[in-house]
C-alpha cells in the first residue's frame, strides 16, 4: 500500500479529544466520548465499529451537524488548518460543508429529497459552491454523473429520486461529492443499505475515486471487510472511544486490542481456514450506561482490576500504530491460534 505522503506535512483533518453527548430524557448519552485521530491529504481511512458505537455522530460532529438534543461538549476539530468548532456558522457552511468535506450517507434512498428532481438538487449544490450559472451547473453535473459511470446523465437529471435504483442513487451522491471538488469524502456506511451485487460496484467506484482524485476518503463501516479492501489505515471505535489505530494490513493480521481481535475473528474472510468463526461475547453497551474504566472490560477476556478502574489512553506501540489498552503485550501474545503476519502476507 502506498503511504508516501511526506512525513511532517500538516494533516488535513485533526480530531482531538472530541466529545459529543446527547442530553435525552433518560439521561446523558455519551455517543462520542473523547476520540482523537488525524487524517492526511489523500489518505483513505476506515472508521470501524459495531452499530451504535458513535461513528456517525463523530462524522456529524466534524461538520457541526449534531442534531438536538446532542451537543459537542468539548474537543477540537481542525480541518485544513482551521478550527472548525471555532468558526462562525457561515464559515462552516461556505468552507467546510460540501466545499471541504462531502458526505455520502448510509441510505441513498432517503438522501435525496423525493419531491425535487435529481437535476434540481445536483445543480443547486454546484451553484452554491462554484457560483456558476444554471447551464454551466448542468454541464458540470452531467460531466460528474458520467464520471461515476451512470448511463444517460441528461436523462437522470430530469428524473426524480424514486425512479432510480439504490445503487444509482448512491452513484448520484458520489457524483455530487466529486462535483463539489471536496478535499475529503466521508462515506458513512456507503454500501450497507444496498444489495450485495451493488455493494461491490460501489466499492469499486470508491476505489476508482481514490485512485483518480486527490480526495482523502474516510469510510465509516461496521464491516471490517469493506474497510480492509479500500483503506490504508483503520481506526477502531468502541462505545464512543477509539481503541486502536494503525495500517490496515498490520491490524488485520496482528490486532493488538482484544476488541479488534474479536472483530476480526468474526469476519469469515480473515479467519484461518477450518477454524470456527469467533463471536464477541456480551452486547454492545448502552451508551447511557457506559462502564467505568476501560469501556470494553465487561466483555474482555484480559480484564483485571485496573481495567475496571482506569480508562486506558491511546499510546503508540510503534511508529504508526497506537492502542488504548492496559494489557497490549498480553493481548498480542495470547493470540497463539492466529496465523502469524508472515504467513498471511506471503502469497
Amino acid at each position: 500500500m502506498n503511504n508516501e505522503t511526506p512525513v511532517g506535512a500538516q494533516p488535513l483533518l485533526e480530531v482531538e479529544d472530541l466529545r459529543t453527548y446527547f442530553f435525552t430524557y433518560l439521561g446523558i448519552v455519551r455517543a462520542v466520548d473523547g476520540i482523537s485521530f488525524s487524517l492526511r491529504r489523500s489518505d483513505t481511512v476506515g472508521l470501524v465499529g459495531e452499530t451504535g458505537c458513535g461513528k456517525s455522530v463523530a462524522t456529524r460532529s466534524i461538520l457541526r451537524l449534531v442534531p438536538p438534543p446532542g451537543r459537542i461538549v468539548s474537543g477540537r476539530v481542525v480541518f485544513d488548518g482551521r478550527d472548525v468548532l471555532a468558526m462562525t456558522e457561515r464559515e462552516v457552511r461556505d468552507d467546510v460543508r460540501g466545499r471541504g468535506i462531502a458526505m455520502v450517507f448510509q441510505k441513498p434512498m432517503s438522501s435525496l429529497n423525493p419531491v425535487f428532481s435529481v437535476g434540481q438538487q445536483f445543480t443547486s449544490v454546484l451553484r452554491l459552491h462554484h457560483h456558476v450559472k444554471r447551464d454551466q451547473a448542468r454541464a458540470m453535473a452531467i460531466e460528474n454523473l458520467a464520471a461515476v459511470a451512470l448511463p444517460a446523465p441528461t436523462e437522470i437529471l430530469r428524473m426524480y429520486p424514486h425512479e432510480l435504483s439504490g445503487g444509482m442513487q448512491q452513484r448520484v451522491l458520489i457524483a455530487m461529492a466529486l462535483g463539489c471538488r471536496a478535499k475529503l469524502l466521508v462515506a458513512d456506511e456507503p454500501t450497507t443499505a444496498l444489495d450485495v451485487s451493488v455493494q461491490l460496484q460501489i466499492l469499486k467506484l470508491l476505489e476508482e475515486v481514490r485512485r483518480r482524485t486527490a480526495m482523502a476518503i474516510l469510510v465509516i463501516s461496521h464491516n471490517l471487510g469493506v474497510v480492509s479492501n479500500l483503506c490504508d489505515r483503520v481506526i477502531v471505535m468502541y462505545a464512543g472511544t477509539v481503541v486502536e489505530d494503525g495500517p490496515v494490513q498490520d491490524i488485520v493480521t496482528n490486532p493488538h486490542h482484544p476488541y479488534t481481535q474479536g472483530l476480526i475473528d468474526a469476519v469469515p474472510d480473515f479467519a484461518p481456514r477450518g477454524s470456527a468463526l469467533g463471536t464477541l461475547k456480551g452486547e454492545v453497551p448502552s451508551l447511557l450506561l457506559t462502564p467505568d474504566g476501560c469501556r470494553f472490560h465487561p466483555r474482555c477476556r484480559l480484564a483485571d482490576e485496573v481495567c475496571q478502574r482506569e480508562r486506558p489512553s491511546m499510546a503508540s506501540t510503534s511508529a504508526d500504530r497506537s492502542i488504548a489498552c492496559h494489557h497490549p503485550a498480553e493481548a498480542v501474545s495470547s493470540r497463539s491460534r492466529r496465523p502469524s503476519r508472515e504467513q498471511r502476507e506471503s502469497p
Partner: protein
C-alpha cells in the same frame, strides 16, 4: 469524564412527568379539566343561587358583587347556572363518548377481524356516515328524535361510533398480517380470546387519544345543537342554550353570552390539550 446523573428506567409515569414538565400546554389542559370536574362535583356548595329559580325582579342584572356573572332574562344567576351547567356538559361528553367508543370499538374489531363481506358492509355504512359532515348528521338525528338533551346524546352516539370503528379496524388490520397473530392462531387461540385479550390491548393507545379528543368535540357539538334549539330546553342550565337565549338580548346583556361561551371553550380546550398530552405519552418518538 465522570457521570453526572445515572441512567433512568423508562416508565409510563416517567414519560408523563417528562412531558408535563416540558409542555406548559399539558399543565393547562390538566388544570382546566380538574377545575371543571371539581365544579361539577361540588356544584351545590359552589353555586351561590339555585340554578333554575325564576326571579323576574332580578332580571338582566349586569355582573356585580352579588351576581358575579350577572343574571339572565328570568333573573337566574348566571354563575350558578354555569356551575350546574358543567354537570350537563360533562355528562353529555362521557355518555356520548362512552356509547360511541364501546359500540365503535366492537364493530371495528369485528370488521377488521372477520374481513370479507362483513367488513365490506360495515365499511360502506361507515362511508355513508363519513360522506356528510358529522355535525350535519347529528343535527338531522337530533331534529328527528325531537329536541331534548337526552336525544342529543343519542343523536351524537348514532353519528360518532363510526370514528372509533374506523380507527380500531385500521389497528386490527395492521396487526392482522403480523407474525404475532399467525403465532396466536397456530397456538389454537379462539376468536373472542384473540379479539379481546390480544387485539384490544393493542388499540388502547389510539383509542385513549381519540376518546379524549372526542370528549371535547362532544361538548362542542352538543352546545351547538342546543344553540340551534335542537338540544337542551329551558330552564336546563346548558351552556349552548344559555348563549342562544342571550343572543336575543344583544348587545345590552353581553354577559349572558360571554361567560357560558367561555366555559364551553375552556372545557373543550382542556380535553383537547389532555388528548394531545396522552398522544405524546403513548407515542414512541419521545426524546
Amino acid at each position: 469524564m465522570e457521570r453526572h446523573d445515572g441512567p433512568r428506567r423508562d416508565s409510563l409515569w416517567r414519560r408523563v412527568l417528562y412531558i408535563v414538565r416540558r409542555s406548559p400546554l399539558a399543565i393547562v389542559g390538566i388544570a382546566l379539566i380538574l377545575l371543571i370536574a371539581v365544579m361539577a362535583i361540588f356544584a351545590p356548595w359552589i353555586a351561590p343561587y339555585d340554578a333554575v329559580r325564576v326571579n323576574l325582579s332580578q332580571a338582566f342584572q349586569p355582573p356585580s358583587a352579588s351576581h358575579i356573572c350577572g343574571t339572565d332574562d328570568m333573573g337566574q344567576d348566571i354563575f350558578s347556572r354555569i356551575v350546574y351547567g358543567s354537570r350537563v356538559s360533562l355528562m353529555v361528553a362521557f355518555v356520548v363518548v362512552g356509547i360511541a367508543a364501546t359500540v365503535g370499538t366492537l364493530i371495528g374489531l369485528i370488521s377488521g377481524f372477520f374481513g370479507g363481506v362483513v367488513d365490506m358492509v360495515i365499511m360502506r355504512v361507515v362511508d355513508a356516515f363519513l360522506a356528510v359532515p358529522s355535525f350535519v348528521l347529528a343535527m338531522i338525528s337530533a331534529a328527528a328524535l325531537g329536541p331534548s338533551i337526552v336525544n342529543v346524546m343519542l343523536a351524537l352516539s348514532i353519528v360518532w361510533w363510526t370514528w372509533h370503528a374506523r380507527i380500531v379496524r385500521g389497528e386490527v388490520l395492521k396487526l392482522r398480517g403480523t407474525e404475532f397473530m399467525v403465532s396466536l392462531r397456530s397456538m389454537g387461540a379462539r376468536t373472542p380470546r384473540i379479539l379481546f385479550r390480544h387485539l384490544l390491548p393493542n388499540c388502547v393507545g389510539p383509542i385513549a387519544v381519540q376518546t379524549t379528543l372526542q370528549l371535547g368535540f362532544a361538548v362542542l357539538t352538543a352546545a351547538g345543537l342546543s344553540f340551534l334549539g335542537l338540544g337542551a330546553q329551558p330552564p336546563t342550565p346548558e351552556w349552548g342554550l344559555m348563549v342562544s337565549v342571550g343572543r336575543q338580548y344583544l348587545p345590552a346583556s353581553w354577559w349572558m353570552i360571554t361567560f357560558p361561551g367561555l366555559m364551553i371553550f375552556l372545557l373543550v380546550m382542556g380535553f383537547i390539550l389532555l388528548g394531545d398530552t396522552i398522544r405524546d405519552v403513548v407515542s414512541r418518538d419521545i426524546q
